[in-house]
C-alpha cells in the first residue's frame, strides 16, 4: 500500500489538467542559439543597388507604363453574367466512353449512370463549382459500338443517334447537388447513415429540356419518346433495332423513378453497412414526404 503522501500526490496529479500545447513551456535550462545577423553589417539587404527593387516602388499590378489602360478603353461586356447560378456539365466524349467499356471499367450488362462513370476513376466533377454531371459529347461517334442503357445529364442529338443505332437506350436526367454528392461516392454517403435523399424537380429553365422527348428527357412521355426514336432513325438513315425480341430487353428498359437516385433503393431508406441490412421506414408522414415531388 502506498503511503498517505503518495496517495495525495497521485490525486493531485489526477486533478491537474492534461499536458497540452497550451500549458507547456520550455525547461528553464534550455539554451537557445543566439540570433546572429549572418549578413554582417550589409546595408542593402539583398535588394540590389538603387532602383524600384531597392526602394520598393514597383509599378502597381495592371499598370501599362503610363499609356491609357486597356481596362478603360474596352467597353463593358457581361461575359460572366450570372456565373454563380449557371450550371456546368464537364464533358465525356463517346470515344472516352468506348474506351471505358473496352477496358472493362464500366459493366455493360448493367445500366450505366453517373455513379458507374465516376467509379471508373477517370472522371470527376466538383459540386462546389456548380458542376451538375456528365455532358456526353459527340467526339468518336463513328467508332462507338456498344449496346448500353445510359443515363447522362446532357447530350446532343447526334450522340443519341449514335447510341440508338447500336441498339442501346439513353435518357437525360437531372440531379440536384445533394443527390449528386450521394451518387458521386455512394460508400461515403452510406457510411454517414443518412436516409437516401429524394431527387428534386429540375429548375425552371431546364424543365423544358428534361421533359423533351427529342433529348430523351426523363420527364417526357414514354410514348412520345418512342416516336422521337423513330424520327431520329429516319433523319440519320439507320434502321432502329427492335427492342421487342431483345434478350437484354429488361436491362435496356430499366429506368429510375423521377424521385429515385439509386437503382433498387427508394428515397427515405437507410443503408446500414455495419449490419449489412436496409432499414425501410413505415411511418406514413415519413413516406408521404419521400414519395411526393416538390
Amino acid at each position: 500500500m502506498a503511503s498517505k503522501v503518495t496517495e495525495q500526490a497521485l490525486n493531485l496529479i489526477k486533478a491537474m489538467p492534461r499536458v497540452a500545447l497550451n500549458n507547456i513551456k520550455p525547461l528553464p535550462y534550455t539554451a537557445f542559439k543566439k540570433k546572429v545577423n549572418r549578413q554582417g553589417n550589409r546595408k542593402k539587404k539583398g535588394r540590389g543597388d538603387k532602383g524600384q527593387g531597392a526602394r520598393g516602388t514597383w509599378d502597381p499590378l495592371g499598370y501599362e507604363g503610363g499609356q491609357h489602360p486597356l481596362i478603360d478603353t474596352s467597353p463593358r461586356e457581361r461575359y460572366y453574367a450570372q456565373y454563380a447560378v449557371r450550371r456546368q456539365y464537364p464533358p465525356v466524349s463517346l470515344l472516352e466512353l468506348q474506351r471505358l467499356i473496352d477496358l472493362n471499367r464500366v459493366d455493360v450488362s448493367r445500366p450505366i449512370d453517373i455513379t458507374s462513370i465516376c467509379n471508373t476513376g477517370l472522371y470527376s466533377f466538383h459540386i462546389s463549382k456548380n458542376h451538375f454531371g456528365v455532358n456526353l459529347t459527340d467526339e468518336g461517334c463513328d467508332q462507338f459500338a456498344a449496346k448500353i442503357n445510359l443515363e447522362v445529364q446532357w447530350t446532343s442529338e447526334l450522340v443519341i443517334a449514335a447510341i440508338e443505332k447500336n441498339g442501346g437506350t439513353i435518357t437525360t436526367r437531372y440531379y440536384d447537388p445533394p443527390c449528386l454528392a450521394a451518387l458521386y461516392d455512394p460508400l461515403t454517403f452510406f457510411k454517414k447513415g443518412q436516409p437516401i435523399p429524394k431527387c428534386k424537380v429540375p429548375p425552371q429553365d431546364t424543365l423544358a429540356y428534361y421533359s423533351d422527348p427529342n433529348f430523351r428527357g426523363y420527364l417526357a412521355d414514354p410514348e412520345k419518346v418512342l416516336e422521337a426514336r423513330e424520327k431520329l432513325a429516319q433523319k440519320y438513315g439507320y434502321k432502329l433495332p427492335d427492342l421487342k425480341d431483345d434478350p437484354v430487353k429488361e436491362m435496356l428498359l430499366m429506368r429510375k423513378d423521377p424521385l429515385q437516385i439509386f437503382y433498387g433503393l427508394e428515397p427515405g431508406w437507410v443503408v446500414n453497412l455495419t449490419e449489412k441490412c436496409i432499414l425501410k421506414p413505415k411511418d406514413e408522414d415519413y413516406l408521404r414526404y419521400y414519395h411526393t415531388a416538390y
Binding site: G56, W58, L61, G62, L70, I71, S74, P75, E77, R78, Y79, Y80, A81, Q82, Y83, V85, R87, Q88, Y89, P90, L95, R99, K129, H131, N135, D138, E139, G140, C141, D142, W154, V201, Q204, D205, L207, A208, S211, L219, P222, E223, V225, L226, E227, E230, K231, Q234, K235, Y236, G237, L243, K244, E250, L253, R255, D257, P258, L259, E266, H291, A293
Partner: protein, 167 residues
C-alpha cells in the same frame, strides 16, 4: 467527323408530321411493350408549365476577384471580369472601344468590324492573368456557351491537336 455526318444527312431530313402519318401503325404495336414494367409508380410529378423563365438579372460573382501584391497588399480589380473573357488555353477576348458611337456616320464594313470580339495580345494576356484569382483560369463547362468553338486551340506547339493516347 461529326460535322460531316450532319452535313451528309441534312438533305435526308424529313418533316415530323409526315413521319407520324407514315408510321402510326408501328407505334401502336410497341406502345404497350415498352416502359410499362420498368417504371416504378410510387411518385407522380405534374408539370404545369415548361416555359422558360429568365433568371433574375442580378450580377452574381461567387469567387473573389482579389489578388495580393508583392508587398502583400490586397488588390481588387473587379473591372477585369466585367470586360474580358478568358478562354481555357490562356487567351483573353474583349470588345472594341467606340463600338456604339457615331455608327450612323461610319461605313458598313467598319460598323460590322466594330461589333467583333477580338483577342488581346501576348502582353495584355499576361497582365490580365495577374489580376484574377486561379479560380477564373479554370475551364468552364457551360453547355450553351457561344465561345465553345474557341475553347480549344489547334496547330500550336503548346496546344497540340492530336488525340490522347488510348491503349
Amino acid at each position: 467527323m461529326a460535322a460531316s455526318l450532319v452535313k451528309s444527312f441534312a438533305g435526308l431530313c424529313i418533316q415530323a408530321r409526315n413521319v407520324v402519318a407514315l408510321t402510326n401503325g408501328v407505334y401502336n404495336l410497341k406502345k404497350n411493350v415498352i416502359f410499362s414494367s420498368s417504371m416504378r409508380q410510387f411518385s407522380a410529378i405534374q408539370i404545369k408549365s415548361t416555359e422558360q423563365k429568365s433568371l433574375s438579372k442580378c450580377r452574381l460573382h461567387t469567387s473573389p476577384m482579389s489578388m495580393t501584391t508583392p508587398e502583400l497588399k490586397e488588390w481588387r480589380e473587379q473591372r477585369v471580369i466585367d470586360r474580358f473573357y478568358r478562354l481555357p488555353w490562356g487567351a483573353w477576348i474583349r470588345t472594341q472601344g467606340g463600338r456604339k458611337k457615331g455608327l450612323y456616320k461610319r461605313r458598313p464594313r467598319i460598323r460590322w468590324k466594330l461589333q467583333q470580339h477580338i483577342f488581346c495580345n501576348y502582353h495584355q494576356n499576361k497582365l490580365l492573368d495577374k489580376l484574377v484569382t486561379p479560380k477564373w483560369k479554370e475551364p468552364k463547362y457551360f453547355v450553351d456557351s457561344p465561345y465553345e468553338p474557341y475553347s480549344q486551340r489547334t496547330n500550336s506547339f503548346w496546344h497540340p491537336n492530336h488525340r490522347k493516347f488510348y491503349p
